[in-house]
Amino acid sequence: MAEFECIEELQAGLPPDAIQNVETFRGEVTFVVNPEQIVEVCRYCRDTKGLEFDFFSGLTGIDYYPSEPRFGLAYHLYSLIHNHSIRLKVYVSGDEPVAHSVVPVYTAANWFEREIFDLLGITFTDHPDLRRIMMPDDWNGHPLRKDYPLGYETVQFSFNRDEVTLHKPYAKE
């Protein structure tokens, strides 16, 4: 994959406060984007000649608990025309985890955002169909959060076998 070499060009066409930081690691370029302007940045990346990120590879949510801002969102964009890719990153506060939906720009983001809403509990404004995608509809909590309990049953060994069996909820006929 070709390295992304248009960092200045991308920044030049955007408002000065849109890109907060640029990081490069082993040829991978990450733009830390102002959360308020992620939709405009995505639209600019998609439509500008020379960039043309026409393929939405994926959207990932990260939980940095207990530090603040708690959540990160990583948008991976790829250009089929130029064979280059970038990562856009947005940080979301843990008190009020809300981000803007990029579905108006990239329709493929629909289920990715639903997944992050389901598993991390980040709400996306202007999403057309924001509901759980993996867990059952009546599920409580968001399982991929770092403060979510891992399991719910004590592991059964020979020394505590009887005690665990006693509390196990066996089905009735």
Partner: protein, 160 residues
């Protein structure tokens, strides 16, 4: 003892009713197609020619709960799948049995987490557990024969 010996001259065989019923039940069992994960692969090979489950009177898996009386839960049951499993079990006509195949279905296996039910016995009553990850076809066949032995213990008095 040949059949002629048992039939005698009258062409009549005498046995207890419960023996006849249990014989019929064990030798014409209709398992429900319930492969959930990798254990289903072993279940398929148990039915295939090498191991040939039809030797025990169960050669056809039914994809409908209305036509089956044995539920082989082959694989881990997720919390989302659990209500579906219970519903299918409720739809099966009596008498019905459940065989929990593999570690995941029996006790959660390696998945002690929020998404997986820690043993299908939380959802439906289980008759036979088969250990293994996944169990070999021999082990599944042993489980089925164990179930057959159990059914043969059924007494007329318990049916009422």
């Amino acid at each position: 003892m040949g059949v002629t010996n048992k039939l005698g001259e009258m062409g009549v065989v005498t046995l207890r009713l419960e023996e006849a019923v249990n014989w019929a039940r064990t030798n014409a069992m209709w398992p429900m197609l319930f492969g959930l994960a990798c254990c289903a692969i072993e279940m398929m090979s148990t039915q295939a020619s090498n191991y040939d489950m039809s030797r025990f009177g169960m050669e056809l898996m039914r994809p409908s709960p209305r036509q089956s009386d044995l539920m082989i839960v082959a694989g881990r049951v997720s919390r989302k799948m659990a209500p579906v499993l219970r519903r299918l079990y409720d739809q099966m006509p009596d008498p019905k049995w459940v065989l929990s195949m593999g570690d995941c279905a029996s006790c959660g296996g390696v998945f002690n987490n929020y998404a997986i039910v820690q043993g299908v016995d939380e959802i439906v009553p289980v008759d036979v557990y088969v250990a293994g990850c996944p169990p070999r076809p021999e082990q599944l066949m042993h489980g089925i024969i164990t179930l057959h032995e159990r059914i043969k213990q059924n007494r007329l008095a318990d049916w009422a």
